[in-house]
């Protein structure tokens, strides 16, 4: 990535904000931790007791003694790892609960409130609730394996380690648009020409879709500027609409955007070959892989004003009072991939076999176009190289926590009209 002036400034502001935020987070955490939990944290070198250097062999030995690692996950693909993980770490059984993001948080909170501590590793998205409800309340703790710390950019490990970054993007149908992307500005989607011809994955049911919208709403000035660049006029807000971000959502709905239950069905609807009036899809980038598996002819719009990639992270962490804390550490390291991997490593499909699997380890099921490892030394997956060319915005956990509910209400009100 080239470092332009604006990205540099943003990086500076971002790290200042992150610093302020992490101080706030750690004070909040300190309030919640009971003496018993503090003792447990100390014993297992977690939370504020995290060590800069670890004796990894010792951790693996203890993990093997613990014999099991229990994982609550928002994603079922992680189940593909069981055999490989257990072969690599004989003696540690991987027990996986595939719960989806809502139930992962719900189950964790309910169990901990009832005094049940079953789970070791929690991996799920939905940054607002993960950071504010789980991390800040001492229900989960950040753990970054020491030997990975300098290979993971700060924003991907603080306040909480990211397992994988994914993005919401816009697809267009290359059969219907042989000359390339039909639009260059997101505001074109709210114009008459695209009435009923834009599809979106239901943000009321899908956390990632809501985060994609929220990413746009989070940047009202840039959205307003993009509108002016497109039309040459200043944006006029609807009645009671707070800013340009919300105005975009309102106009999108007023333009009869079609709401889809499933992101993959949306990708197939937009991308089915042979259409001459195909819709534009706002969905998860990872479904571009259905071009291969389902014969879709989708392409990603890489150069949209003001943004073409809305990133949403999936986190991983160790649960409070985890019964197998060392096995949890080993599994988190495994999910980051082999330490021997670097940008020059050649990875071949199928990723879930042979040497590629041994290199990618826990990344293997997610090494797909549209998914990006938090590490800076992992090559981009084949077909997903476009990631670096796209202008991307990240969503902050603060915004999701504070504005997520308002955005849902807004969507609800304007979608029912």
């Amino acid at each position: 990535m080239r470092m332009t002036r604006s990205t540099f400034l943003k990086a500076v502001f971002g790290s200042v904000a992150a610093g302020v935020f992490s101080v706030a987070a750690s004070t909040a955490m300190a309030q919640e931790v009971s003496p018993e939990l503090e003792a447990w944290l100390q014993e297992n070198a977690l939370g504020t007791n995290a060590m800069v250097e670890e004796n990894w062999d010792d951790i693996v030995a203890r993990a093997t003694q613990e014999g099991e690692v229990v994982v609550y996950s928002s994603s079922g693909r992680i189940a593909k790892l069981a055999d490989h993980f257990q072969a690599l770490y004989p003696g540690i059984t991987l027990t996986l609960f595939d719960l989806g993001s809502v139930k992962t948080i719900e189950k964790t909170v309910r169990e901990q409130d009832a005094g049940i501590f079953n789970v070791d590793v929690i991996t799920t998205g939905n940054s607002g609730q993960v950071i504010y409800e789980l991390l800040n309340n001492g229900r989960i703790f950040n753990y970054v394996p020491a030997h990975f710390a300098d290979r993971i950019p700060q924003e991907n490990q603080d306040p909480l380690l990211i397992r994988v970054n994914e993005a919401i993007v816009f697809f267009y149908n290359t059969d219907a648009n042989p000359d390339g992307a039909p639009i260059s500005n997101v505001w074109e989607l709210t114009q008459e020409q695209y009435r009923g011809r834009v599809g979106i994955k239901d943000p009321m049911a899908s956390g990632s879709s809501l985060m994609g919208l929220a990413t746009l709403v989070q940047n009202p000035e840039e959205m307003a500027a993009a509108y002016e660049r497109l039309t040459g006029e200043a944006l006029v807000l609807g009645d009671g609409v707070p800013d340009a971000g919300y105005e975009f959502v309102r106009r999108l709905l007023a333009n009869d955007v079609v709401i889809f239950k499933s992101g993959s069905k949306l990708a197939d609807a937009a991308g089915a070959a042979g259409q001459d009036d195909a819709m534009i899809a706002m969905t998860n980038m990872t479904y571009i892989s259905r071009n291969d598996s389902k014969g879709n002819v989708n392409a990603i719009m890489a150069d949209l004003d003001p943004v073409s990639r809305m990133v949403y992270p999936t986190f991983m962490s160790i649960a409070a009072n985890a019964p197998h804390p060392n096995a949890a550490k080993v599994f988190i390291a495994y999910l980051l991939g082999s330490p021997e991997m670097n940008l020059e490593t050649v990875l071949d499909k199928p990723y879930l076999e042979g040497e590629s699997f041994d290199m990618l380890q826990g990344l293997a099921p997610y090494h797909d176009a549209g998914s990006v490892s938090p590490r800076s030394d992992v090559p981009l997956p084949a077909g997903g190289e476009i990631w670096d060319e796209m202008k991307g915005w990240d969503i902050t956990a603060d915004f999701m926590w504070e504005q997520g509910p308002q955005l849902r209400d807004f969507w609800l009100i304007y979608s029912s009209q």
């Binding site: 994603s75 079922g76 693909r77 189940a79 593909k80 996986l96 609960f97 595939d98 719960l99 989806g100 809502v102 139930k103 719900e106 189950k107 309910r110 169990e111 409130d113 009832a114 005094g115 049940i116 079953n118 609730q129 504010y132 409800e133 009923g196 599809g199 239901d202 009321m204 049911a205 079609v258 709401i259 889809f260 239950k261 993959s264 197939d268 609807a269 937009a270 991308g271 089915a272 009036d277 819709m279 598996s293 389902k294 014969g295 199928p350 879930l352 076999e353 099921p365 926590w401 504070e402 504005q403 509910p405 308002q406 849902r408 209400d409 609800l412 009100i413 979608s415 029912s416 009209q417």
Partner: protein, 613 residues
């Protein structure tokens, strides 16, 4: 307490004389003992979650911090009620979805009652052809997850609003179906009615089978015409079953989620249930629970109206100790047309969705229906990393087979306990009819029907995480899955229990009692055999729903307790269409096989004399 002499010539309450008398009195009123025991148990497993929902509706949740930065989590608040009923969002969150749900509920109930009772009449009271096969097949649609019908509808009728591959109709004729046919109110009502008519069909055919034809003949002797006989004799006797069917269908429709979500979303047709799920999905429990409470109030008022209508009548007794005859009316020249109509109906509701599932499970690339794209890999494949992340085909898949065992176990155990509990509740309610105890019991046994499943599951985690008296902590065990399934299905079985008991005249039991036959023997020799046809139908419903249930138990299952629906959920999440179709088909086929076996067994055991088919 006091052993002083009683002032008014009555023995004091705790005297031996009075105690003996009270024991004697209660021995002769077993319904009170049973009623109290059932009420106690149900209060705990039903009322505690209900109170929790009420409490949470009035409690400031962490989600609400976004609305009130200075709010205190856990404090009392009216915020949720304000949002749902008062603030501008109320219109979108509450009013419109409620209207949609009611519109949907009335239409589906009307159609389902009409279709279900017509079919029941055809099967029980006429000489339509192939009754045996039809009778069994008519409940098949209910054994499929309801979204299968919705998916079938979409693949037939979808138009270019949702783009992608064409629907079959457009593909064949080139005609674009208008939006209102493809999505929203009309298809939702139609597909749901084709799914839920099974309640009416089962209940009415059970009741019809026990209506003595002699009663109708007596009417004919008195010169009543055919329709008048149906109106003044048959219909009134069917009222309890019909009432149950209306209640079950209507309330179920209010709570149904899958089909409206699938068919309503493209045209933004939102219902009450989709709003509740959306709120729960955001972990916005406040809104969700207030909406759930509205559903509960709606359901209770509906039941109240129903019991007012049914309850004022003195008797629905059809089973007495006297003669019993069942006569079929001859359809004459309508015999074949009626048969063909049923066949067409079954093709639409059973054959087509099943074929669609089968085909889907045999495609190499999902959605491509050409013959060259067929493969048996997803059934018999050994696991190939190139396909479906290396997941082996169904018959080699240990995860699927293990889950299958658990599902069947869960279904059987739930059905068994449900049958017993439903019978006891029915007995206590009917024999104690008019008393407060009976009314409370009836109400409380119905309450689980209107709980949002996922909320009940969430509350059970907290309730059963520690031991309660002698009962050890049930969380994480298989028992809690059975318990919650039994509770959630109790409304079916208690309704069928009540309907069955209403038809058994007390004189039968009194005769036995005069001869000094004890309660247990009366139960096993008289009540259970006579109510068997209704009871088996209720237990079968439990078995079916238990096998299909997911959102209720998803929070409570663990890998060791994995059930088939959990496996399907996983495959759907991962977009593994063939695996999910194959496992769904397998689930449906297993449900069908087991229920056919149960029917055959119960028929050969003598229940068939009374049962519908």
């Amino acid at each position: 307490m006091s052993d002083t002499a009683a002032p008014r010539g009555k023995p004091p309450f705790f005297s031996r004389q009075n105690m003996a008398y009270q024991v004697y009195r209660f021995k002769n009123k077993p319904e009170i003992i049973i009623g109290v025991l059932c009420l106690g148990f149900l209060s705990f497993v039903v009322l505690v979650p209900l109170l929790q929902i009420v409490k949470d509706a009035f409690t400031f949740q962490s989600y609400d911090l976004a609305y009130q930065r200075d709010g205190e989590v856990g404090a009392f608040t009216l915020l949720h009620f304000d949002r749902v009923f008062n603030q501008p969002i109320s219109k979108a969150l509450f009013v419109k979805p409620l209207i949609n749900s009611l519109k949907m509920g009335f239409a589906v109930t009307l159609i389902a009652i009409f279709v279900g009772s017509s079919l029941a009449w055809l099967m029980v009271r006429t000489n339509v052809h192939f009754k045996g096969v039809f009778g069994a097949m008519l409940v098949f649609p209910y054994m499929m997850p309801s979204w299968v019908m919705a998916l079938a509808w979409l693949s037939l009728f979808k138009n270019d609003r949702i783009g992608g591959s064409e629907g079959l109709l457009t593909y064949l004729t080139g005609v674009q179906v208008p939006d209102w046919v493809a999505y929203g109110y009309v298809p939702i009502v139609f597909t749901l009615a084709m799914h839920y008519y099974a309640y009416t069909y089962l209940l009415i055919s059970g009741a019809l089978a026990t209506v003595d034809s002699e009663l109708e003949e007596a009417g004919a002797t008195c010169g009543l015409g055919k329709w008048k006989r149906i109106r003044v004799i048959t219909m009134p006797l069917l009222m309890p079953a019909l009432g149950s069917a209306v209640v079950l269908t209507f309330i179920r429709i209010l709570g149904t989620f899958g089909t409206p979500a699938l068919l309503g979303l493209p045209v933004r047709f939102f219902t009450f249930s989709t709003q509740i799920y959306a709120s729960i999905n955001a972990r916005n429990q406040g809104d969700a629970y207030v909406l759930a409470l509205v559903l509960i109030v709606l359901a209770i008022s509906f039941i109240w109206i129903n019991s007012r209508i049914i309850g004022v009548r003195k008797s629905y007794v059809t089973m007495t100790g006297k003669g019993f005859r069942k006569r079929e009316s001859d359809l004459g020249k309508w015999r074949w047309p009626a048969t063909i109509l049923v066949i067409l109906f079954l093709c639409m509701t059973v054959i087509m969705p099943l074929l669609l599932l089968l085909w889907e499970s045999l495609t190499l690339i999902p959605g491509n229906y050409s013959l060259s794209n067929l493969t048996t890999y997803f059934w018999v494949g050994q696991g190939n990393v190139q396909l479906a992340y290396g997941e082996p085909g169904v018959i080699h898949n240990k995860g699927i087979l293990g889950a299958l065992g658990n599902s069947v176990k869960l279904g059987f155990m739930a059905a068994l306990f449900n049958g017993a509990l439903g019978l006891l509740v029915g007995y206590a309610v009917v024999r104690g009819r008019g008393a407060k105890l009976a009314r409370w019991l009836e109400g409380i046994a119905f309450a689980p029907y209107i709980f949002p499943s996922i909320a009940l599951g969430a509350i059970y985690i907290g309730m059963f995480s520690t031991n309660i008296g002698p009962v050890p902590a049930l969380y994480g065990t298989f028992t809690i899955l059975v318990l919650i399934t039994v509770i959630k299905n109790l409304p079916f079985t208690s309704r069928t229990g009540i309907a069955a008991m209403l038809q058994i005249h007390q004189s039968l039991e009194e005769t036995a009692r005069v001869q000094g036959i004890g309660w247990f023997r009366r139960m096993f020799r008289i009540i259970i055999p006579l109510s068997m046809s209704g009871l088996v139908a209720g237990m079968l419903l439990t078995f079916i729903t238990a096998m299909r249930e997911l959102s209720l138990i998803i929070l409570l299952i663990s890998p060791g307790n994995m059930v088939l629906t959990g496996v399907i959920f996983g495959y759907q999440e991962q977009d593994m269409a063939q695996h999910s179709s194959a496992v769904t088909l397998m689930l449906v086929l297993i449900i069908i096989t087991i229920s056919v076996i149960v029917r055959l067994l119960s028929r050969s055991a003598g229940v068939g004399r009374l049962s519908a088919t």
